[in-house]
């Protein structure tokens, strides 16, 4: 693999040990996949373990060890960089059943870590929707560690980003380069399988939750093969796309997908497939949607203890739905309602009066935190409108007793008011 003199200098350790380690990782990645050279990136998005990945207890210490090694001698990043949400808004620690000692540890690990990244010049985006803050252009190379954002930058913007993880994107931000592998190359961006709606479902009338179900059902069919979606409305909104991309991103190993008539590399089915024959064609009908619904719902009784919304962060359109569904009602004293969003969207929610409605009802509004991870310490049943979050709430431990109710955002808000899951399906 060819390295420029600049890149060789980084590899030799002249720019410090962190930069050397970063170049070693990127070179190993490139060589494993047969890259001939590095490409310059224009943007990176970080997923730091010490701000996000359970930054307390022994894994908090492991996260700090890892970052200490990877950033040794690093004082700035070479490209504009945003980052993921923090693990938890510490003001909500008690509500989400965190013990006091964990809060103390997070004060000592998560908060200094966030300050450290900001000192490197990281834009304090704290969201999994960085495309609302730093959009890029078609053909630009980027490095991103957040599954929905990887899919969004590739599929919606036409930028080029591999399926990066937190270590690789940090290495790319430190060095400003990335090996020319995978979907950085045009020939690896083509669609391989076709996914179409069955005759018994109508995507035009889908709720946001239906898009999650369609996404989960699709991911179970295409697995690792790049899908080309046909038969979907070409006027899908930002929030609809958020739901469609979020689930398939975390449930599959995909970096890119195409929606014919909507995404830039799929003006036609032929263009999306590169004039090749698809490997397979799948239909997502009611049977597949019902199966996805059964997987997402692990609760058996109807009581609800937590309603956690905002994975990924709640958009203004969703904020409006939450406020309208609440209307004048109050959150049940037996339920905690938490609505999580970005700093910018929260400001909009305040300007538009939605934040006041949610807070007056007894709900908690928060920003900059990952509700999918922050909700993993609670006991009882969580209601969510996100299958991505459901995957995390019912995972992590073989001993978990947490249960999940998945449904529309309105189903969830009604459950917050009554304490009961009343949606029938």
């Amino acid at each position: 693999m060819y390295l420029t003199p600049d890149q060789e200098r980084m590899l030799s350790g002249e720019e410090g040990q962190g930069c050397q380690k970063a170049m070693e990782i990127l070179k190993a990645k490139g060589e494993a996949e047969g890259a001939s050279r590095m490409v310059k990136i224009t943007y990176a998005h970080l997923m730091p373990p010490d701000t996000m990945f359970f930054p307390f207890g022994r894994q908090g210490k492991w996260a700090r060890d890892m970052i200490g090694e990877l950033t040794d001698g690093v004082t700035r990043l070479k490209v504009p960089t945003t980052m993921e949400p923090k693990f938890l808004d510490l003001a909500l620690a008690r509500d989400l059943e965190f013990p006091d000692n964990a809060v103390k540890e997070m004060e000592n690990i998560m908060l200094p870590a966030a300050a450290f990244y900001e000192s490197l010049g990281v834009i304090p985006s704290y969201t999994a929707l960085p495309f609302t803050i730093f959009p890029t252009k078609i053909g630009q190379h980027v490095s991103i560690a957040e599954s929905i954002a990887i899919l969004w930058y590739n599929s919606i913007f036409g930028s080029r980003c591999e399926r990066d993880d937190g270590v690789s994107s940090l290495a790319a931000a430190i060095t400003g380069v990335y090996p020319e592998i995978g979907v950085h190359l045009a020939e690896n961006r083509l669609g391989e399988v076709i996914i179409r709606p069955g005759k018994d479902v109508d995507p035009v009338s889908f709720t946001y939750a239906d898009w999650d179900l369609y996404s989960l059902a699709s991911s179970r069919k295409c697995k690792e093969k790049t899908p080309v979606f046909i038969g979907l409305p070409t006027d899908m909104s930002f929030t609809q796309l958020k739901h469609l991309l979020a689930v398939i991103a975390v449930e599959s190993g995909l970096a890119i997908m195409h929606i014919v008539g909507l995404t830039p590399e799929a003006p036609t089915l032929e263009a999306a497939l590169g004039s090749k024959k698809p490997v397979a064609e799948f239909e997502i009908g009611q049977r597949e949607i019902d199966e996805a619904y059964r997987i997402a719902n692990t609760a058996t009784d109807r009581s609800v203890d937590y309603v956690l919304l905002g994975c990924p962060h709640v958009t203004p359109a969703e904020m409006k739905l939450i406020a309208e569904t609440l209307d004048d009602a109050k959150v049940s004293p037996n339920v905690r309602l938490v609505v999580s969003t970005t700093g910018l969207f929260r400001q909009m929610a305040e300007d538009m009066g939605y934040a006041d409605i949610i807070e007056s009802a007894g709900g908690h509004m928060t920003q900059d935190m990952c509700i999918a991870f922050a909700g993993t310490q609670v006991s009882g049943t969580i209601a969510t409108d996100s299958i991505k979050a459901a995957f995390f709430y019912s995972g992590f431990s073989s001993k978990t007793t947490r249960r999940v109710r998945f449904g529309t955002i309105q189903d969830c808000v009604r459950a917050a008011v009554t304490g009961k899951w009343e949606a029938s399906r």
Binding site: I25, A28, K29, A32, E33, M47, P49, M52, F53, R58, Q59, W62, A63, M66, I144, A145, E146, S147, I150, E162, R163, D164, D165, G166, V167, S168, S169, G182, K223, E224, A249, V250, E251, S252, G253, I295, T298, F391, F392, S394, G395, F396, S397, S398, T400
Partner: protein, 138 residues
């Protein structure tokens, strides 16, 4: 005995162990319990099986971009697999394996999840890319 040859992400000493084979993609963050090594993902084909100390055989890794940290935590808790044999070296798993010096072999030209059975004794050579499979009932 069957011998196959693939590619290795890094030159490391040879290891051997019993295979845990799954035909589903594996998630290390949330899909696997990093304190025990058990696959806990709801609906996963190998749910309830433990990868700790085994040779993990799967089509590839999957999951969010945090999957590398899941693998790192699994390694730090002493519950990681001894090696990973897969069809495709998916990026998040590759970085986790690189960071922890876990042998990871891929690209055998045939589907390793069909070739190897759970319980087979497997020898992995990350220098040559060679894998030797001894059937459990041989």
């Amino acid at each position: 005995m069957i011998k196959i040859k693939g590619r290795s992400i890094k030159e490391l000493p040879a290891v051997a162990g019993k295979a845990l084979v799954t035909t589903d993609l594996v998630a290390f963050w949330a899909g696997t319990d990093w304190e025990t090594g058990e696959i806990v993902e709801v609906g996963h084909q190998a749910r309830g099986q433990n990868m700790s100390g085994k040779i993990l055989v799967c089509p590839a890794g999957k999951g969010g971009a945090g999957d590398t940290f899941g693998y790192y935590y699994l390694y730090r808790s002493g519950k990681a697999p001894r090696a990973i044999i897969c069809n495709r070296a998916q990026g998040t798993t590759l970085a986790g394996a690189l960071l922890t010096n876990t042998p990871m072999l891929y690209g055998f030209g045939e589907d390793v999840t069909q070739l190897i059975n759970t319980g087979d004794q497997v020898e992995v050579n990350p220098k040559t890319g060679e894998v030797i499979i001894n059937r459990k009932d041989d």
